[in-house]
Amino acid sequence: MELSINGQTRTLADAAVDPAMPLLWALRDVLNLTGTKFGCGVAACGACTVHVDGQALRSCVTPLAAVASRRIVTIEALGTAAQPHPLQTAWLEHQVPQCGYCQSGMLMAAAALLAKNPDPSDADIDAAITNICRCGTYPRIRAAIKSAAATLRPALPKAKAKA
């Protein structure tokens, strides 16, 4: 089976995977892309969030068969220390993570939100970020999303902003 992951075509041995296997386990246990996390297995917590064709998707309940010909992006390709995604910069600025386990999923959910909504309201953030964080980093995540959004739309002309 072939998958497009982080811009590369990855071939998975048929013996290693199964069309019914959730994407999460192919990423973690077959490809060793362990940045995407297992939290609940029932799409309730969002720790396993990745992008599929630009949409945030919970990989723990997404079978490989459903993503075979689609563009998959994981936390490993969101940005690096040298070239961070604006959200990652904001995450550091606001010192968001505590234990850090949910943060890959949080960042991927937030990145998908900003990609289609460069100026999310509090209600937009509430609706898009339904991931669970047991350390309680929500207020900082909200603030970091807002500051990343601000850096992502510096070119908005003032007149347009007023209109």
């Binding site: 995407t36 309730a44 961070p84 850090g100 949910c102 980093t137």
Partner: protein, 760 residues
């Protein structure tokens, strides 16, 4: 003889027999240059500090990072005393030496009233008790991350270790350059003299190891440049790019994956297992039956090529489960029994009276009015984000485990027992913890994983519990009940307060599992279920705070803030009731009762001021307040709350705290925010129900927690400046939130909810 004194004499006799009497200087915990293993180019100066060839500092890290920021905070203490940037301090897991054990956590478990334990003014009983326990803890050297004790435990030792290393390095430079010590200075790990010579620590390390430190003094607080600042955490880059290694991220050559399926009945086990269908599935390698390890329920484990293959196999198993030999557990029945125990003990002045002043019976007789209420709290699960897991390899008589644990020594011991080897043959690698909250003070999964790895022919195996296994087989925060009885004078002010609580003792159950060698045949008095009721700051003339310790059979464990987690709700919601009875403002009422508690006054006043207590609010919004001391820190919270469709929505939390000396105010604020949200999940939703020994909840859909939409948008933290030794930070923010929310709900609804969760 008072019961407390008797207990202490017993402990003292044991301590004297075991370890002899003597003094306990922090210097005794510095260790030697060879305490930690050295790699080429490194020089050990003591058990905590090594110097690298590049002049960097390598710190032996004896505490687990589970989100609470201790890796950063401990590195800050060392960087400060060594005058080196935080970026040049590298962490290395500390070994098993006893110097790395936790003394402060065990001293903190003593059942003393804070007013008897005020530093410098301790009663003789307190001083003796603290000394004995410190001595025992030092001798035992149990490494543990818990009890909000990390900074308190490290405060003297780690700073001294770093300051001693600095003195040795400077001494070596002085000798080599033949320049007076007093004329040398250090900037970011580079020693220099005004006349020109300079060099980084690495150049002097070897000579420093042979140079006596002379008189070592710690930096004065006024000279700190790093401690006290909100320095960025050192672990965050790895936590935003997916590279931070948690337990479940361990990947070894030839690794197998395993999934556990426990007997649904707590304490039960597997009878007949039909594995035929499971073994026919592709990718399933083997099936292993597990007995009980360090308190675990019996289970069957399927080993496979991936976690998913193993999970498919686990679901295909046909298992006849065996009920536990002890009776059937039902939480409703247990809580009813706790109600009765509390009432009976209250009527008979029974239970263990941890705190007693004046005469509550006489106060009750002379009271103008009496108020009595029973409060209840349910069992709770921890639900750490990272599911319970451990990776183990058993090969050539050696055992290696990789585990997110708060108890590396216990992990080592249970691994050795499971593999039938000596502890010397076991290496424990502590990974990042995806949340701990006390759950990872238990090491059950380590024994399980090692037992499975014994079967896999030397191949490493990663055992994980699916979320349903975690919620269904936790060591739960015990259910608790308290009967609170106040005697009021004609003005409505309390002249007597009797609190009789009942609930399972946690410490003895945990010791049996995690430290079996220390577990005794009888339960020592355990304050963990009673803390938060027996140590209230209010100046009420007659008080009796007693607790009935029970043993229900439900597996119970430490849950962030332990007894305080529910007892603060009981105490502070009841105090709010008394304020209402006295027709007084809740803040003014508390202040009136806090005449002998100036630190509490300062904290409460700060929270009230910053929250604008008494000021106008939008229609439909109310404030609630709570004040609570735990882990040597005092926290007050004021919430602003509205009801949306009948459901409480916390809009803003103002948190004021006196946590003693602050190492990193940024991390303190993070912890207060996190503790509030953790406590809010429990206050609003948290409940574990047990019927027929089976836990009814299984995963986040039926064990809900607060998410972004229900999280307060604003949580402010304001710190009272303090020069006291550091108190706890990770837990003290959790207890006040439930009563603060409940008290605000009362303002809006006129109804008191006296049982958690508030949304039953």
């Amino acid at each position: 003889m008072k019961r407390r004194t008797m207990i202490l004499s017993g402990l003292g006799a044991v301590a004297a027999l075991v370890v002899g009497w003597g003094v306990l200087p922090p210097r005794g915990r510095l260790g030697g240059p060879g305490t930690q293993p050295l790699v080429a180019g490194e020089v050990g100066l003591n058990g905590w500090i090594k110097i690298g060839a590049d002049g960097g500092v390598i710190l032996a890290m004896n505490r687990s990072e589970m989100g609470q920021g201790v890796h950063t905070a401990l590195a800050m203490l060392v960087a400060e005393e060594l005058d080196i940037s935080l970026a040049k301090v590298r962490l290395e897991q500390a070994g098993a030496d006893k110097i790395y054990g936790n003394v402060a956590m065990f001293v903190g478990s003593l059942p003393f009233h804070p007013s008897d334990a005020e530093p410098g003014r301790e009663t003789r009983t307190v001083r003796t008790g603290q000394w004995i326990v410190a001595k025992l803890a030092r001798e035992l050297g149990i490494s543990a991350t818990g009890g909000s004790s990390t900074i308190a435990d490290a405060w003297d030792v780690l700073r001294l270790a770093a300051a001693t290393a600095r003195a040795q390095l400077l001494g070596a430079a002085s000798l080599e350059w033949k320049l007076p010590l007093a004329e040398l200075s250090v900037k970011n790990g580079v020693i220099s003299h005004a006349s020109g010579p300079q060099g980084h620590y690495g150049l002097f390390a070897k000579a420093a190891a042979a140079t006596p430190p002379g008189d070592v003094s710690l930096k004065a607080a006024k000279d700190w440049t790093l401690v006290g600042t909100p320095a960025p955490r050192i672990d965050l880059q790895a936590k935003i790019d997916g590279t931070a290694p948690f337990g479940l991220d361990v990947r070894l050559p030839n690794q197998l994956y395993a999934v556990a399926r426990h007997c649904p009945m707590l304490g039960g086990g597997a009878g007949a297992v039909n594995a035929e269908a499971a073994m026919k599935l592709p990718g399933v390698e083997r099936v292993v039956r597990l007995g009980s390890f360090a308190g675990s329920t019996g289970a069957v484990v399927v080993v496979g090529r991936s976690t998913w293959h193993a999970q498919q196999g686990a679901q295909a198993l046909q298992i006849e489960w065996r009920a536990p030999p002890a009776g059937v557990l039902a939480s409703a029945t247990i809580v009813d029994a706790l109600d009765r125990s509390a009432r009976e003990a209250a009527a008979a002045q029974g239970g263990l009276a941890f705190h007693s002043v004046g005469d509550v019976a006489a106060a009750s007789k002379g009271a103008a009015r009496r108020v009595e209420q029973l409060y209840r709290a349910p069992y709770l699960a921890h639900a750490t984000m990272e599911p319970i897991n451990c990776t183990a390899r058993v090969a050539d008589g050696r055992v290696e485990v990789w585990v997110p644990t708060q108890m590396p020594g216990s992990a080592r011991a249970v691994a050795a027992r499971a593999a039938g080897v000596s502890e010397d043959a076991v290496t424990v690698h502590v990974t990042y913890l995806g949340g701990g909250f006390g759950r990872r003070l238990d090491v059950d999964v380590v024994g399980q994983a090692v037992r499975v790895a014994v079967e896999t022919g030397g191949r490493p195996v990663q055992l994980v519990w699916p979320r349903e296994e975690d919620i269904g087989h936790d060591f739960y925060r015990p259910a608790g009940v308290a009967l609170l009885q106040a005697s009021l004078d004609a003005q409505g002010m309390p002249i007597g307060l009797a609190i009789t609580s009942a609930g399972d003792a946690v410490t003895p159950r945990w010791m049996e599992r995690a430290l079996p060698a220390l577990a005794g045949p009888i339960d020592m008095p355990d304050k963990t279920a009673a803390e938060g009721l027996i140590d209230l700051p209010y100046g009420i003339a007659n008080q009796r705070m007693a607790h009935v310790a029970t043993h229900s059979g439900v597996p119970v464990g430490f849950w962030r803030s332990v007894g305080h987690s529910h007892n603060a709700f009981f105490a502070e919601a009841f105090i709010d009731e008394l304020a209402f009875e006295a027709k007084q403002d809740p803040v003014a009422f508390r202040l009136a009762l806090l005449k002998d508690a100036p630190r509490h006054v300062a904290v409460l006043q700060l929270a009230a001021d910053k929250a604008g207590w008494g000021g106008p609010l939008p229609a439909g919004v109310a404030r609630g307040v709570a004040l609570h001391e735990s882990f040597n820190s005092i926290v007050a919270q004021v919430v602003e709350l509205s009801l949306q469709g009948g459901r409480p929505r916390v809009l803003r939390v103002v948190c004021a705290a006196d946590v003693g000396t602050v190492v990193n105010p940024g991390i303190v604020a993070q912890q207060m925010e996190g503790a509030v949200i953790f406590g809010l999940s429990a206050a609003l939703y948290g409940r574990i129900d047990i019927e027929g020994s089976v836990v009814r909840q299984s995963n986040f859909p039926d064990y809900p927690v607060v998410k972004m939409a229900e999280s307060p948008a604003i949580i402010e933290t304001h710190l009272v400046p303090s020069t006291r030794a550091p108190g706890g930070v990770g837990e003290p923010g959790t207890p006040p939130i439930a009563p603060a929310v409940a008290n605000a709900m009362f303002v809006l609804t006129g109804q008191r909810v006296r049982s958690l969760p508030l949304l039953a």
